[in-house]
């Protein structure tokens, strides 16, 4: 697959179909492939595809195109150029691209999608738990197993057990849209278990859910890594840094942190593709997915739509229907 991606990238670059290709290269740290930007044929051999490609590259597509557009602002209209970006995209990345396209962030002819079927990526947190928190010095995948090297020796674990939670129940592991597809379609994941976590949480009493929410949010130190890695978080001015109005206080008050997370998570309603990038980059291990997945579940159950799953279907909060459900509307009691 890796070879095919490199060949495709070379072909696109040589044929001047794209100006830059965004893909993954070998990272400097174990368990992590680094996003890279390839703009000439010779560098295309840097591209890799493995179980450590955890970032959602749609983020960089948006960044590159918008930076280029900004650079064109002072150029005469007739001399403006377009930057065509190629991107190595698995299922969730293509969903993010669909969201960008639906939100008119760029047009379809500005991107070339190299669709890659995906079998999931390794969660660094699960790996760390596997080796009891020891520093992982190296990692290698052989067949269905993964070998983690620490100072204390090698640990072998089945790859399946270390895959990220988002991947284990992934519904869209094959690209939704693609210009070139490489490899064979990936086998389906365990989609039936998709909402098990959410349903379990929903059935807890109020106080337990609140206790869990406050416990998780107390870990957050507002480094904004989740926002910075999220392809759906592309506002030029983020509410978290806005001072007029001042949505989020800068103090150390617990509720300020809760408010930031609550607002960011709710901003993902109908836009979160469950790529797991935020969970993967969170240095404090906040269980963001538990809350983001609820929005996905509600969006599907109430409005029969999953974020970025269909180019033709508008995002749930940008559309409406007269016959939408409204059980939540309060009807005053008659005796009152």
């Amino acid at each position: 697959m890796e070879k095919q991606i490199r060949e495709t990238a070379k072909e696109l670059l040589a044929g001047k179909k794209v100006d830059v290709i965004i893909g993954y290269e070998q990272g400097t740290l174990p368990l992590q492939a680094t996003p890279c930007f390839i703009d000439n044929v010779d560098d295309a051999d840097k591209l890799v595809w493995n179980a450590f490609c955890s970032q959602n590259l749609a983020k960089y597509v948006h960044d590159v195109i918008h930076r280029h557009k900004e650079s064109q602002v002072r150029v005469k209209p007739e001399e403006r150029t377009k930057k065509i970006v190629g991107v190595v995209a698995r299922g969730c990345t293509t969903r993010s691209l669909v969201i960008h396209l639906q939100e008119r962030q760029y047009s379809r002819d500005e991107i070339v999608i190299i669709g890659v079927p995906c079998t999931g990526y390794v969660s660094k947190k699960k790996a760390a738990i596997r080796v009891d928190g020891a520093e992982i010095l190296g990692s290698a995948v052989s067949g269905n197993d993964i070998v983690l090297t620490t100072a204390g020796g090698d640990t072998t674990a089945p790859l399946q057990e270390l895959l990220s939670d988002s991947c284990l129940t992934c519904r869209f592991n094959n690209p939704i849209i693609a210009d070139v597809t490489v490899g064979e379609p990936a086998p389906p994941m365990n989609v039936d278990a998709e909402y098990h976590d959410v349903v379990k949480f929903e059935n807890l009493p109020d106080e337990e859910r609140w206790a869990y929410f406050t416990k998780e949010m107390a870990k957050c130190m507002r480094c904004f890594a989740c926002r910075n890695t999220c392809p759906s978080c592309y506002c030029k001015v983020c509410f978290a840094e806005q001072s007029q109005p001042n949505w989020v206080g800068v103090g150390v008050d617990d509720t300020d942190v809760q408010m930031f997370q609550l607002m960011r998570i709710f901003h993902m309603a109908g836009r979160c593709v469950d790529c797991g990038a935020c969970v993967e980059v969170c240095p404090m291990g906040v269980d963001l997915r538990k809350f983001l997945k609820k929005l996905d579940k509600d969006g599907f159950e109430l409005f029969q739509s999953r974020a970025g799953a269909d180019m033709e279907k508008p995002p749930i909060l940008s559309s409406f229907a007269m016959e939408d459900r409204q059980e939540f509307i309060y009807e005053p009691e008659e005796h009152a």
Binding site: D206, A211, D253, L262, F291, L295, L317, I329, P332
Partner: protein, 145 residues
């Protein structure tokens, strides 16, 4: 808004975010018709429910509101034709999400109330106030200075 917390004669403070064309006029009608209803709701007039950012609701709770009531025109009667329809989706998600994180369901309420429904407005305010009273002062998400 936290000054009367912890007092024995606590009465709830409820923020009512209402649309200019229906519910605000409905409240006006309730007033000029001399219908009695609890004085616990502070109304904030917005052009349309579709204009209400869900952040307003969250922020009101953080600033110490014991309850939040959002009300606008009935579906199909929006002054801007479809503002309340997009609001309806937004607030369905919000209502579910806030109770998912463990907030009491009755803290945040949504309803429709037209300009002709002064009586309904009074009933809504009465009902909401009773429910929030039953819950007691808000403790979750509230910022204590």
């Amino acid at each position: 808004m936290t000054e009367n917390k912890g007092q024995e004669n606590w009465v709830p403070k409820i923020v009512g975010i209402v649309c200019n064309w229906c519910t605000y006029a409905g409240a006006d009608l309730a007033g000029i018709s001399r219908i009695q209803y609890p004085p616990n709701v502070r109304l904030i007039r917005v052009p349309c429910t579709g204009r209400i950012n869900p952040f307003y609701v969250m922020k009101a709770l953080q600033e110490g509101a014991d309850g939040v009531l959002v009300s606008g025109c009935h579906p199909g009667e929006c002054h801007y034709l479809t503002g309340n329809l997009s609001a309806r989706r937004k607030f369905y998600m919000l209502s579910n999400f806030l109770s998912y994180i463990g907030l009491e369901k009755d803290r945040v309420m949504f309803t429709w109330c037209s300009a002709a429904e002064g009586e309904r407005f009074a009933k809504v305010v009465k009902g909401v106030t009773e429910r929030v009273k039953a819950l007691g002062p808000a403790s979750k998400l509230v910022k204590h200075l």
